[in-house]
């Protein structure tokens, strides 16, 4: 048990250090983007959160498949934790994207492939969370595993949706795909913020899954 606490503190400390450095880069080092100015800094939170949510939904996919194959509590707990944390990061992506869109292009939302597919992804996992909360206990794990797999399969659709229409018809920029980030400082800041948020995502999933398993063990002890 002591070793597990040491691992937890080490993982959280590493995450904290990378978050602190990424925070410093975003607000104190990286220059304003030439066209969008200061508001472009939302990009580092927006893209970092998107990568974190894709990783979380990838974990949902693998753990849901593992649950359907083995029907074990650990796979189900990991799937539940990853879906919850992934949903939080997906909400941050939507909110930060809307704020950025309003300030930069005077539009809260646009009905184009990338934004609509991401909204669908968010809604699928909103449904997952409601099912977990209100579904029939004997069947909820299997049902959520199936929805989790379907939801996770939306991730490649979201990623490649930006290629469905030419850039001129889309609000969502294709910065990374078209290698628009040429300034090395922008690129390194992007990677640090992606790393920071992905590590935070993994730490939260790890702790959240243990809360579920500990809760179940406590309930078994009580009964």
């Amino acid at each position: 048990m002591k070793n597990l606490l040491r691992i937890d503190i080490l993982a959280i400390s590493l995450t904290g250090i990378i978050i602190a450095y990424a925070n410093y880069l975003v607000f104190m080092v990286v220059p304003n983007e030439r066209i969008m100015g200061a508001v472009q800094r939302i990009f580092y939170f927006h893209v970092g959160s998107a990568i974190a949510c894709y990783v979380a939904f990838g974990i949902v996919f693998v753990s849901s498949l593992a649950y359907l194959a083995r029907r074990d509590r650990v796979s189900d707990a990991i799937s539940e934790a990853a879906a919850e944390v992934g949903f939080v990061f997906a909400s941050i992506v939507l909110l930060s994207g809307m704020i950025w869109g309003k300030v930069a292009w005077n539009t809260w939302f646009n009905w184009e492939p990338r934004l609509v597919s991401f909204l669908l992804l968010w809604m699928i996992f909103l449904g997952y969370i409601f099912l977990r909360a209100f579904g029939e206990p004997s069947r909820v794990a299997t049902q959520c595993a199936i929805i989790g797999i379907i939801g996770a399969l939306m991730v490649p659709v979201v990623i490649f949706s930006v290629k469905l229409l030419p850039q001129v018809f889309q609000l969502h920029p294709q910065v990374v795909e078209k290698q628009g980030l040429r300034e090395p400082l922008f690129v390194s800041t992007m990677f640090y913020s992606m790393g920071a948020l992905t590590l935070l995502n993994l730490v939260l999933i790890w702790l959240r899954a243990r809360i579920t398993l500990t809760d179940e063990k406590l309930n078994e002890e009580t009964w």
Partner: protein, 46 residues
């Protein structure tokens, strides 16, 4: 002119620090709970 935002930097630093400390507290509580469950399981075995 250097583009820095010290107000936002310190504001976000405070927010991230609170979040990280909360996660540390959560980890300590989970470990304490797991330790209690394990010692309870061990005492049932004996």
């Amino acid at each position: 002119m250097v583009d820095t935002f010290p107000g936002l930097f310190w504001g976000y630093t405070a927010i991230w620090a609170i979040l990280v400390l909360y996660i540390v507290r959560l980890a300590i509580r989970i470990n304490r709970l797991e330790k209690r469950i394990k010692s309870s399981e061990d005492s049932h075995k004996h």
